[in-house]
């Protein structure tokens, strides 16, 4: 079977999630291509080859610097057709959510959003994904020749880099389509750790009470090099920006470690984080539903526990730094 991974970039590198998708295609033993679209992205082909892309389709032009549906859909559908891929994989980012269904419709293909597991067996793709706020797991088969699937970061494991070089195919830059024009991007989180890409997420809920609580969460995140998340309640109240919201209506995350601090664990929040490898919960209410999904729960006041956590972890970090010297 042939697969195509739509590679996403951040700054001057390929996003980890795209490399995870490539890693999984190699694990399946598929003949895999990648497509990368942007400005100054030609240098990223080797990186894609190192994770298993044997062909890389590139559209590199100043006009493609920012994502826009119409030109990106044109380039990516061209890559899908040329590659003959029966499986097209893309991350469940905002770009992926906007692009994947449009691409699927153009290819006459079905799509599944946020796969939890994918199997490729005898040329058939089946995908498991959650519905009803995580209460039902659907197993979905495709009737179309092509299957378009999105997956959140952390769904598949990153493999080690290997030596390899890709056949590079340059795709034409589409003519600009003025029906949609991007005027401006109001950046919210430029230098912070990206929530979807982070190995560790520290998330705060209503228990933070106010700005003092948020500072504690931020300080713990700094100590751990973690991304910051929040429950819907704190994002709606303006304590944290909406870009931090973890849950069914916000971001779905699956980091190595998830700290849920002062979060009771409403169903819509759980739907966004129960894919995490390890969940730590800190809450004063011993009956909070978050404890049902936590691997390790502290029944404690976050204003007491988090400062101790920060100081203990800082000590360990300082110790490790000394040992390394």
């Amino acid at each position: 079977m042939k697969a195509l991974v739509i590679a996403e970039t951040k700054g001057n590198s390929i996003k980890k999630v795209s490399l995870e998708l490539l890693s999984q295609c190699r694990r399946w033993g598929l003949e895999t291509s990648a497509v990368v679209v942007g400005s100054g992205v030609s240098g990223l082909c080797d990186e894609l080859a190192a994770y298993g892309a044997s062909t890389v389709y590139v559209a590199d032009d100043a006009s493609l610097e920012r994502y826009l549906t119409l030109p990106y859909a044109k380039v990516v559908s061209e890559a899908a057709k040329q590659s003959g891929a029966q499986l097209v994989l893309v991350s469940g980012s905002e770009l992926g959510k906007d692009l994947a269904p449009r691409l699927a419709a153009r290819l006459g293909a079905g799509a599944v959003t946020d796969a939890k597991a994918v199997s490729v067996d005898g040329g058939k793709v089946t995908v498991k994904s959650l519905a009803y706020a995580g209460k039902v797991m659907n197993q979905v088969a495709f009737k179309s020749d092509v299957a378009v699937v999105t997956a959140q970061p952390g769904t598949f494991e990153l493999a080690d880099k290997a030596a390899g070089s890709a056949n590079v195919v340059r795709l034409e830059t589409p003519e600009s389509d003025l029906r949609v024009v991007l005027r401006e991007i109001l950046k919210e989180t430029s230098d912070k750790v990206d929530l979807g890409e982070a190995n560790i997420v520290v998330a705060g809920g209503r228990g933070m009470k106010g700005p003092e609580g948020v500072k504690l969460i931020e300080s713990l995140a700094d100590t751990l090099g973690a991304a910051i998340g929040g429950s819907r309640a704190v994002c709606d109240s303006g304590l944290m920006p909406h870009s931090c919201q973890v849950g069914q209506t916000g971001r779905v995350v699956a980091p190595q470690v998830y700290f849920a601090i002062g979060i009771s664990g409403a169903i819509q929040h759980l739907a966004g984080m129960t894919g995490s490898k390890v969940i730590i919960a800190i809450n004063t209410d011993p009956d909070a539903p978050i404890f049902n999904v936590a691997d390790y729960g502290l029944v404690a006041d976050l204003f007491e526990a988090v400062p101790i956590l920060i100081s203990e972890l800082s000590k360990i970090k300082a110790g490790a730094a000394t040992a390394a010297r």
């Binding site: 079905g110 799509a111 919210e188």
Partner: protein
């Protein structure tokens, strides 16, 4: 400006949902308008508040969707379409988008608006697929929309790098985020007025869609199995003196190699 707003009636996902013979068990289910679609209607009504517009709400399904349409009318929509056809059962996003694209073409809408996703499937596919079938531009995950003095709309959406400000020419498809703002609550006047408005019932044949273009036959995906996912196992929950239990947690994290470094 003619605006079509898609209202999906979904199972209330806050309730307990059980499977019976591989299907969602009917018992104890309640249906509500997909909350994102209510935000979509709010977006359309705000455009209508600012300048002349004609807002139609559309819902597909059995007679229970009339309740959703009635609510849409009482919030301020001008008219309602009930697309009712047994052949529609089992449709995926692809088949939904095919059917709505025919309706949009036949009725000449300038704008089709819907929630960014539906709370039952969270698929978020219907809008972009519809835009593709119509060959219209799309803007997804919208948090703000107003008419642009240069024509078309000025919109804001949440993208991966922050809020994007865009202009989009009509006809277009927009999908709306829950961050657009709370949907308005119907007033008593709105509720009384809605009773006088007619709901148009249409079959697939009446909008020029073949029965095999929708339903299981017209879908590109098929649910072959449903199961209740295994919940996470509950781990340990510790109480006690905060200093001691927090240090214990740190030991567990570090000694068991739980923390990626």
């Amino acid at each position: 400006m003619k605006i079509l707003v898609c209202l999906k009636q979904v199972v209330d996902v806050e309730l307990n949902i059980q499977l019976k013979d591989g299907q969602i068990a009917d018992q104890g289910l309640r249906y509500v308008i997909n909350a994102y679609d209510e935000s979509a209607l709010e977006a359309a009504l705000q455009l209508k508040d600012a300048a002349e517009a004609d807002v139609t709400v559309l819902s597909i399904g059995p007679d229970r969707v009339l309740e959703a349409l009635r609510k849409g009318l009482s919030m301020g929509a001008d008219r309602a379409i009930h697309l009712k056809d047994d052949a529609f059962a089992g449709s995926d996003s692809y088949a939904f988008a095919k059917a709505v694209s025919e309706l949009a073409k036949a009725r000449g809408y300038d704008l089709v608006v819907m929630g960014k996703q539906a709370q039952d499937t969270d698929a978020a596919q219907g809008g972009p697929m519809l835009a593709e079938f119509l060959d219209w531009p799309q803007v997804t995950n919208l948090i703000f929309a107003q008419r642009s003095p240069e024509g078309g709309l000025l919109v804001r959406r949440v993208g991966d790098e922050g809020k994007e400000v865009l202009t989009v020419q009509t006809p277009a498809v927009l999908t709306i985020s829950n961050d657009f703002g709370e949907a308005r609550i119907p007033t008593m006047k709105g509720i009384m007025g809605a009773k006088k408005k007619e709901i148009e019932t249409l079959s697939l044949a009446q909008i020029g869609v073949a029965a095999d273009a929708v339903g299981v036959a017209g879908s590109m995906t098929e649910i072959v199995n449903r199961e209740q996912p295994e919940g996470r196992k509950t781990g340990r929950k510790v109480t006690g003196e905060v200093g001691a239990i927090t240090r214990e947690l740190v030991n567990w994290l570090v000694n068991d190699g739980k923390l990626p470094v």
